[in-house]
Amino acid sequence: MVPEIGHFALVVALVFSFALMCLPLLGAQVNNQMLMATGRSLSAGFFVFVTVSFACLVYAFVADDFSVSYVAGHSNTLLPVYYKVSAVWGGHEGSLLLWVMMLAGWTLAIALLSGALPRDLQARVLAVMGFISVGFLLFILLTSNPFDRLLPMAPQEGGDLNPLLQDIGLILHPPILYMGYVGFSATFAFAIAALLTGRLDSAWARWCRPWANLAWGFLTVGIALGSWWAYYELGWGGWWFWDPVENASFLPWLVGTALIHSLAVTEKRGAFKSWTLLLAIFTFSLCLLGTFLVRSGVLTSVHAFANDPERGVFILMFLLVVVGGSLTLYALRAPVVKNHPGFSWLSRETLLLGNNILLMVIMATVLVGTLYPLIADALGWGKVSVGPPYFNMFFIPLMGVLCLLMALGPSSNWKKTNPMQLVKVLWRPWVISMVIGLLFPIFYAEGYSWLAALSVFVGSWIFTSLAADMLHRMRNAKNWREGLRKLSLSYHGMIVAHAGIGVTLIGVCLNSIYADLRDVGMHPGVAVQAGNYEFTMDSVYTVQGPNYIAEEALVVVTKDGEFLREMRPQKRRYLAGGKVMTQVALAPGLLRDLYLAMGEPLDDEGAWAMRVHLKPFVRWIWLGALMMAIGAAMAVADKRYRKRKTSKAQGPSSGTNQA
C-alpha cells in the first residue's frame, strides 16, 4: 500500500510541476499578476508531494518491503537501519528521486526567498525550475520507477546494498553532491529567465551570485567527500583516480568555478554578460550529464545504453531539449554587446578572463578524456582507456599557471591596474614564498626534491599574497581588529576559499611526492619498518559485525622505538552477498596519515600480505576543500546580497535570502 501512495504522490507532484512550468510563465507573458503569483503555491505543492513520495520509499526500505523491486535489489534485513535509509539512494531509481527531492527543496527556497525579485522574473525562474522537474519526474515515472513491485513472487530476502556503499562517507556523499548539482539548476533558471525577459543587469547578477556560490560550495564538499571515501574505503590508498564517475562531478565544478568568477565581473562591471549566461547553461548541462551518465552506467560501458534503450533515449532527448533549447534561446536572445565597458590589458577583468579561459581549457581536456573511451567504443574503434597520465599531463601545468595568476587577481583593480602597484604589494610575498619553497625540502626529508620546492613555493605564494593584499587593504585602519571588520564578509570568504586552494595544492603535491607505499608480508611478532615508524602485527582474530564476519589484525605501531598506537585493519565478508571487503585502519594526522590495509593470508602460520602506507599531508587535500566551501558560505552570508528592507521570510539554512 505504502509504495502505491509513494507512486501516486509522485504522479501528483508531476501535475504540480507541470502547472508550475506553464502557469507562471503564461502569467509573465500576458502580464497577469494572479497567474504569476501561482508560482509560490505550486512550488510548495510540488515540494510536499515529492517529500511524501520520498518518505514512502524510505519507509519501504526501513520496513524491508522486498516486494518492491528496487528495495529487493538494494537492501537486506541484516542491514543496520541507517544503511537501510541511505540505501534509498544506493541505486539509479532512488538517487533520481533524491535529485528531484532536492530540486523541489531548491524550488521552494527560491519561491520563498526571492520576494524582492521583480514579479515576472521570479515567475519565469520558477517556471524553468518546473520545467526541469517535469523532465526528471517523467524520467522516473516512465523508465525508472523505484516503486515497481516484484509481484506475485516477492523475495524473502533482499540482494543487499553493495558493501562499498555501507559507509558514512557514502551516506553523505550523494546528497551533498546532488545539492551542488541541483543548486546549479537555480543559476540555470536565472539565466533562462534573464534571456526570456532580456533583462541582464548587475541586479540580476547580484540575485544570482549567492545561489551560484552556495551550489558551488556544496559541490566542492560533495567531491571532497567522494575522494575521502575512496581514500579510506577502497583500500588502494589513492584519493583521486580520474575515473569517469569522479570526472563527471569535477566537470561542473570547473565550469562552476568559472561561473562564480564571471558573475563577479557581471555584477561589478556589467561586462562578460553573454559569457556568464553561457557558463550558467554549461554548468547545469554538465550537472545533468553527470547525474544521468553516472547512475545509468553509460560511462562505464556503452552497453548499458543498449541494454536499456528506453532510458538512454529519454536521457538523450532530455539533454537535447535542455541544452539545445537553452543554447537556441541564447543565440536568439543573448545581449549583443555594442560597446564594451573597456578595460586595459592588466586589470581584474583581464585576470578573471584568464581564469575563465584556463578553467574552460582544463574542463575541455577532462571532458575529452572522459568521453573519448565512450565515443571510441560506440564507433567501434575498440576499447580504450584514458588513464591518469593523460589527465596529469594537461591538468597539472594548467592548474599551476592558474594558481600563480590567482594571487594577482585580488590585488588588482577593476578596469586598469598599475603594474607598479602590483609589484609594490606583491614583491615581498614572492620573495618570502621563494625562500619557504627552497628551504622546505631541505628540512622535510632526505634528498632534495625540486618538485616539492616548486609546489610549496606556489602554495606559499597563494597564502602570502592573500595576506599581503589584506594588509594592504587594512593599511589605513587604526588597528587590525577594526581593519578586519571593515573588510566585507564576501572578501573574507574569497580569502578563505583561495587559501583553501593553496592548502589543497600543497596536500596534493607533497602527498604524491613524499608518500611511502609498500606491500609487505607481515609475520606475527616481526616488525616492519616504514619511515620512522615500525609496525608489528600482534595477532589476527575473527570479529562478528552486524551483517559481516571479519578477520581483524591487531598491529602495534611504534615511532622511534616508542609506542604510538594500535591499529586494527579488517578483511570483511558480508553475509548477504558474500562480498569481501578490506576495511582500512587509519591513523590520521595533520602532517601525515598512517594507512594499513589487509591483503591475503600468506601461509598457515598467520602471516598476511599487508599494505603499509605513509601519507604525508593527505588531510590537507580535504581540509582545503572544506575551506573553499566555508569561503563560499561566507560570501553567501554577506549582507550585501540581502535587501535593506528585510521582510519576514528568512532562510535559516542558507542565509541567501534576498527577501
Binding site: 543498449a306 539545445g324 543565440a331 558474500g578
Partner: protein
C-alpha cells in the same frame, strides 16, 4: 554579424549531438545476437559439486532444449531471479545449466545449499573465459539452447514468468516441433 557569433555554441553542440547520436545508434546492440544461431562455444570446466570431472557442451545434446544461466553470488539480481528458476524446475522440469561466473566457489556452493539448487549442474567459470566467449555483459544472463547445442535465444537480465511466457515459451514450442 554579432548575433551570428552567438549561434556558435549551438552549432558546436549540434555537431556533438549528431556524433553522439550516431555513435549510440551504431552501438553494438547487434552483439547480443553475435552468438545467436551458433553453437555454444567450446569449454571444458569443472562443476561446483565435482572438482575432478570436466563438463563440455555435449551435455546440451542430451535434452530437447535446455537453459544456460549465468549467475554469481555477488550478483544481487541473480538472487532476485533465483526463486523463479526453482519454481520453473518444479513446475515444468526444465533442465537448467548454470555458469557460476567469476565467483568464489565455496560461496557459490553455500548459496546453492541455502537457497536450493535448481540447476542440473553449474560449471565454474572462474576467470570468466567462457563468459567472454559468450559475450556476457554481466550477470544474470540466460540462454535457450536447442537439442543440437545451438543458442536460440539470449536474455540479458532477470528472467521472470512474464518474460518466460513472452520470449521463451514460443521458441520452445517451435524447437519441440522440430524447428
Amino acid at each position: 554579424m554579432n548575433r551570428l557569433k552567438l549561434f556558435l555554441p549551438l552549432a558546436v553542440f549540434g555537431v556533438l549531438a549528431v556524433l553522439f547520436w550516431r555513435g549510440l545508434s551504431l552501438d553494438p546492440h547487434a552483439m547480443p545476437s553475435a552468438r545467436l544461431e551458433q553453437p555454444v562455444p567450446a569449454f571444458e570446466l569443472r562443476t561446483i559439486r565435482d572438482e575432478e570431472g570436466r563438463i563440455t557442451p555435449e551435455v546440451f545434446l542430451e535434452h530437447d532444449y535446455s537453459l544456460l544461466n549465468i549467475w554469481a553470488t555477488w550478483c544481487a539480481a541473480c538472487r532476485v531471479e533465483h526463486p523463479f528458476f526453482v519454481e520453473l524446475v518444479e513446475r515444468e522440469g526444465v533442465p537448467i545449466y548454470g555458469i557460476n561466473y567469476k565467483d568464489d566457489v565455496a560461496a557459490a556452493a553455500r548459496w546453492l545449499e541455502e537457497l536450493h539448487d535448481p540447476y542440473v549442474l553449474s560449471v565454474v567459470d572462474q576467470d570468466g573465459r567462457l563468459g567472454l566467449d559468450l559475450g556476457v555483459f554481466g550477470a544474470p544472463e540466460t540462454y535457450l539452447i536447442d537439442g543440437r547445442g545451438i543458442i536460440r535465444h539470449r536474455h540479458v537480465g532477470v528472467v521472470n514468468w512474464e518474460i518466460w511466457e513472452r520470449d521463451f515459451r514460443p521458441l520452445i514450442e517451435r524447437i519441440k516441433e522440430g524447428g
